[in-house]
Symmetry: C2
Subunit: 349 residues, 2 copies
């Protein structure tokens, strides 16, 4: 089969790799019908994080179950399934606590499955899913083509935006600022709106993303950043800042901006993968009682809650995909996102 | 009148200073009947933070109102009052949001009141209170001598322990670890218990404090610290750690221990004043979804809730005082706390 392999900085290739084989009894083989490129895939692509040798890449996919191990009980051949960006058993204590990203037995796509076998990357034709019953969520019926982009966002960005909003404690009436207008930031706007935020500010300087932000529920746009951006936010919210700030980038600059945009006693919900050693200014946090909560989003725990709304169209996170390419053109998909020609690219094998 | 002045490292003196005078119309003069020494007072005492010149010190006191300004409406001469460790108006947006430590018009004892006058330190015979109606809480009647230590803890340590517990999200059934067995840590145990924690571990290596911790509601004691302490906590809680960790010290070591004692998805509520530039390990926080929330405790916002329980004896935070000295011996009070001969010293002018 064909799958995406990263060889180094700006070196993405679609290569012939071994077709996955069931090996543990609790696994499944999924034929990928849609995958995508994540903002976090751009870190190795850009060389911000090192690529020591060629390896599979991609962690967001949906598809159809082709084979299941003999101990798989809930997932069935023919199911259309959503995979979160990691695998997990959903039976260990961390999964039951709602933190399936810390599954005691789970792992990450494109690496060892902790049971001696390989779990394929998501940007390929097939993926072996180590804990099929825990990891995969089957849709009630086979989705329409129009539903697939929305379902694919449940793999990562919609659940991650939701995690930012939950981590920041968004409740009915909250004032919210979203830092970052990538796919996660845009989904965080959807999440904040459905949790009842009274006002949602999108910090964005791209006209097309601003338009989508407004469509998703943003009530205000702030284009400026840094000191000027913080001053604009502070002024909008009684001179003190917003109740909840959703940090969806992961740089030192974005984290600083987020913390300074929160009012005393406010909360920053962060989901941007911290790169370049972002530091938290503890003295400022202490003096202002601003909390910092979040992390790698346990999106598997959120799929059941969000799925009906995606299927009904009540929320439309699939709109974050503004480019669709065949898997053959995966290198172009990375380039388009890297050069900001696309917010998020959907790949079809 | 006489008041405490710090001159430098281990140089605490009781000196004759000007008697305070009403000056703003919204202030009051309180005759202090009990004051105390705070763990945070030990930072300048020990020279950890510099003392640039002699200045008043002390920020916890209760007493009797002797004079009020002509615009003071709720506080009356003769009232027995509790003062939080700062002054605040309780009408600005931050106070109304529950974060009176960020009062837009408030300030700190022993410094300028932001209206051109001086607010006395708390370790003295009298204090001018800048925002009398906002800052002071009058008890329903004059307390008994036995009630006074408990009321004095509402100035700081009991409210601060409560803030740690609230910031960590303690709710019925939570598992809780308290890092720090000083007065704040001990009060945090009371707070965790009254919020319904199912299990409360006190990290303490002093027999007398362990005994008080158990009396206050600790179900377990862990004496070890660092890696060994974290391992003990992890083992106690299903191999993953506790739901809520209350950090009541403020050093890098205590913060690290707190963060590593929290389970994935858990929360650290911190109230220890960060000294020596404690850093937060953002990558670990991100990977484990452990949040960090808290800061300088807005104890004024908690007095009304906690006061009835102190008066009734339902909670007995006054037991943290294990030494009582006349104000004359304030230097000995500092020394006793510095040398750990006392947990907390009550001073009577």
């Amino acid at each position: 089969m064909r799958a995406t392999v990263i060889h180094g900085e700006r070196d993405i290739r679609l290569e012939e790799v071994p077709h996955p084989q069931l090996s543990t009894g609790i696994d499944a083989i999924v034929r990928v019908t849609a995958a995508c490129v994540c903002g976090s895939d751009l870190w190795p692509y850009r060389g911000v994080t090192a690529t020591d040798g060629p390896h599979r890449i991609g962690h967001e996919f949906v598809g159809v179950v082709e084979e299941v191990g003999d101990q798989v009980s809930t997932i069935k051949v023919g199911d259309f399934v959503i995979a979160p960006f990691y695998d997990c058993d959903m039976t260990c204590i961390n999964c039951l606590n709602g933190v399936s990203t810390s599954c005691l037995h789970g792992g990450w796509w494109g690496s060892d499955d902790r049971a001696g076998s390989f779990a394929d990357g998501g940007q390929g034709e097939y993926v072996r899913v180590p804990h099929a019953d825990g990891t995969l969520v089957a849709t009630p019926q086979y989705p329409t083509p129009q539903q697939i982009p929305g379902l694919l966002t449940l793999s990562d960005v919609m659940g991650t935006g939701h995690h930012a909003a939950l981590s920041a404690g968004v409740t009915p009436g909250s004032t919210v600022v979203v830092v970052g207008d990538g796919a996660v930031g845009l989904c965080a706007i959807i999440a904040a709106k459905r949790l009842g935020a009274s006002r949602i500010v999108a910090m964005s300087r791209h006209a097309d993303r601003q338009a989508l932000a407004r469509e998703f529920g943003a009530t205000d746009i702030v284009e400026s950043r840094g000191d000027e951006g913080v001053a604009a936010i502070t002024e909008m919210f009684d001179g003190i800042g917003a109740d909840c700030v959703l940090e969806c980038v992961g740089t030192q600059e974005s984290m600083d901006q987020a913390i300074r945009s929160a009012r005393p006693g406010g909360m920053v919900g962060y989901v941007g993968v911290p790169n370049g050693g972002a530091e938290l200014p503890i003295r400022r946090l202490f003096n202002t009682n601003v909390g910092v909560n979040g992390g790698v989003a346990p999106v598997r725990n959120y799929i059941e809650e969000l799925l009906p709304e995606v299927l009904s169209g009540a929320i439309q996170p699939g709109k974050v995909f503004d480019l669709q390419l065949p898997l053959d053109e995966v290198a172009e998909a990375y380039a388009a996102m890297d050069e900001r020609r696309a917010t998020k690219v959907l790949l079809t094998p």
